[in-house]
């Protein structure tokens, strides 16, 4: 057997290389005789496209790396000042909170000042990235904190989105009034799905939620219809304040729909970060983490595990529903195909990439996986269509090399330093 080892490996290499034949093979079944021709243009993306991008745009590549480094670095600093660490209780935590609030204010100031100059596409990116941050934060509650893998998150997003879309279509409900009913319906769906399924073991739960996502899509198709629902919104939002000089300077061409959306999105994200931070540092957040770490021990320490998992599930569904409302409002149409398994995986990968269970992780994940391909779309158009492939590869790589995510590791580092005398 030993002697054949190299031969076996060779065979294995050949077989693994065989699918590359997929790439180059164009076949058309004719009348009893088939012509298969090797088409080299399909091979291109592997052999020449990628090197060509990098070669032609090496400055961009460096820019992207710097951007990534900056995002991670910023969040690390933020985390360093505030995230966790109970020692010296009061003073570190207040100091951390002050810095965190400071960081928030800086972000908002930059936004305000640049709002004037932002082009529509940039605002568009901003809105979408905020939506994804919202969704990723919500998913992180259940996947990262409580340790339950949910694969049908897009189903909850769809529930919120369609609650809004249908109410809008039937009663002309506006976006502002839609958040409440959508959150209610979303939360109720989460609660009802969680009620039977949260007693299941982790991997079974994952499958059940996956099925749930598909079922929601199916139900929408059959009950609401396969066509898109158009959501009409005024292009210009009448301002509530009197338009003084400062206002006119800030919004030279009035409060456009996009700009309002951006502000609402930012507000929602800031609010979510605050709420989730409060949760993380509360008895409930600790109980969730305890459940993630060891469910039996948590139960023996007096934690009603099923009730808390249900709570996490419901909250996460509420976040999804709110995100969903925003998603379709911004998109101005709702279609069942927008909420497929691919979307669930994309949001999950944001959480995984940023760091499951870490506060700022999902934010980084959303920025990297949404904003980056979007911004680079014009230069590397292929990036969008290869995103799912990259996402898949990244998920595996993250699990192997950095399971704590891009920003999730600081706690441990500090700890290690302390341990070593």
């Amino acid at each position: 057997m030993k002697r054949f080892r190299p031969l076996l490996w060779l065979l294995w290499c050949l077989i693994i290389a065989a699918p590359l034949v997929f790439v180059g093979l164009e076949y058309e079944w004719g009348k009893g005789l088939w012509n298969a021709t090797l088409r080299t243009d399909r091979l291109r993306f592997l052999v020449s496209d990628i090197p060509a991008w990098v070669g032609g745009h090496w400055l961009d590549v460096i820019g992207v790396l710097v951007f990534l480094g900056a995002v991670v670095g910023f969040l690390k600093l933020w985390q360093l000042t505030a995230w966790v660490q109970w020692r010296g209780e009061v003073e570190t935590r207040t100091r951390g909170r002050v810095r965190q609030a400071g960081a928030m204010i800086v972000v908002i100031l930059i936004l305000t000042l640049s709002c004037r100059h932002l082009a529509d596409t940039q605002i568009e990116w901003g809105v979408m990235v905020c939506t994804y941050i919202l969704l990723a934060l919500g998913l992180n509650l259940i996947v990262g904190m409580t340790g339950l893998l949910v694969l049908g998150y897009a189903g909850f997003v769809a529930v919120g989105a369609y609650t809004f879309a249908v109410l809008h279509q039937q009663f002309g409900l506006s976006l502002w009034l839609a958040f409440l009913p959508a959150a209610l319906v979303g939360g109720l769906t989460g609660f009802l799905l969680g009620l039977p399924s949260l007693r299941l073991r982790g991997d079974y739960l994952a499958i059940v939620t996956l099925g749930f996502g598909e079922t929601v899509r199916f139900l929408i198709k059959n009950l609401v219809g396969e066509q898109s629902i158009i959501i009409s919104r005024p292009a210009r939002v009448p301002s509530l304040m009197s338009e003084n000089a400062a206002w006119r300077w800030l919004f030279p061409d009035g409060l456009t729909r996009l700009k309002t959306e951006l502000w609402v999105a930012v507000a929602l994200v800031v609010l979510s970060i605050w709420l989730i931070r409060n949760l993380t540092h509360s008895r409930i957040g600790r109980a969730w983490i305890a459940i993630r770490e060891d469910e039996t021990a948590a139960a023996a320490m007096g934690i009603p595990t099923v009730r808390l998992k249900l709570l996490a599930f419901t909250l996460s569904a509420i976040w999804a529903a709110v995100g969903g409302v925003f998603f379709v409002a911004h998109n101005t149409s709702a279609n069942p195909e927008m909420f497929g398994f691919g979307e669930s995986v994309l949001i999950l990968s944001m959480v995984v990439l940023g760091g499951m269970g870490s506060g700022p992780g999902p934010i980084v994940g959303a920025i990297v996986l949404y904003l980056l391909p979007e911004v680079l779309r014009e230069r590397f158009p292929v990036l969008i269509s290869y995103r799912p492939m990259i996402v898949g590869g990244l998920m595996v790589a993250m699990m192997i090399f950095r399971p704590q995510g891009l920003v999730g590791s600081l706690r441990r580092k500090i700890e290690l330093k302390e341990e070593q005398p």
Partner: protein, 259 residues
């Protein structure tokens, strides 16, 4: 006056009678030890008391309340806390947070309070942290509040588990081999700790193999073998009991070679 009264507790796994018809009572402020060879069913008995396994038969009364087959968290709320034979801490939390988790069932801030962090929840959380620190001090881990549970040395982990159990404010504490795998010095420290726990007015039921610990502090000892209770009494009575010697040495006393 008894705080715990277990009668006829049995737990079968398929054909295996892991615990068979065991009676045990504990009076307030007492330290009761359970000893027996490995696989005798001691841990299983604890799991039955704390609701982790459903009983096959039997009744368990705690403070005159029937708690058999209740959910684990309900039983903990009634006032029974435990540690595990194979330490089960929440590894990715600090020591302090581990203890604070134990306080969950004694705090009340609901989801709305915690979401917006009302003064009530802030005050409650502060109180929890302070009590947790005090408990860490009590078990001798004051300097390790911010260490990750999983990075603590084994002996400290065992003590942290005790602190976490104490945070649930129990009236009855079940300790599953708290001195297992420790050196004589650490064993002494654990013995002393158990004594101090009793002095706080907490009843203790202890599973232990170290006879020094058991005979040193127990008021009564129960002996399990093959799931059945074969003896019970004061340390002296139990140590001379021929059945116990047979269970441990595998021979009857009379058969032993006279040397």
């Amino acid at each position: 006056m008894t705080i715990l009264e277990a009668t006829g507790v049995s737990k079968y796994f398929g054909g295996l009678k892991a615990v068979e018809n065991v009676d045990l009572t504990a009076r307030p402020g007492e330290i009761v030890s359970i000893i027996g060879p490995n696989g005798a069913g001691k841990t299983t008995f604890f799991n039955c008391l704390t609701g982790i396994y459903p009983l096959t038969h039997g009744r368990i009364r705690f403070k005159d309340r029937d708690i058999a087959n209740h959910k684990p968290h309900v039983i903990t709320r009634h006032g029974i806390a435990r540690t595990f034979q194979n330490v089960r801490l929440f590894g990715e939390m600090t020591a302090l947070e581990n203890v604070m988790v134990g306080a969950y069932c004694r705090t009340r801030a609901g989801i709305l309070h915690t979401l917006v962090r009302t003064p009530f929840s802030r005050r409650e959380d502060g109180g929890t942290a302070a009590r947790a620190l005090e408990l860490l001090q009590f078990v001798g881990l004051a300097g390790h509040a911010d260490s990750w549970a999983r990075n603590l040395p084994y002996g400290y982990q065992r003590r942290l588990e005790i602190a976490r159990a104490l945070a649930t404010q129990p009236e009855l504490l079940l300790l599953d081999e708290p001195a297992a795998g420790m050196n004589p010095q650490e064993v002494g420290a654990v013995t002393e700790l158990i004594g101090r726990i009793r002095d706080r007015g907490i009843t203790v039921i202890l599973i232990e193999h170290h006879m020094k610990v058991v005979t040193g502090i127990s008021d009564r000892i129960a002996v399990l073998d093959y799931g059945e209770k074969i003896a019970e009494g004061t340390p002296k009575e139990v140590c001379c009991n021929p059945k116990v010697i047979q269970a441990y040495l595998g021979k009857t006393y009379e058969d032993a070679p006279a040397t």
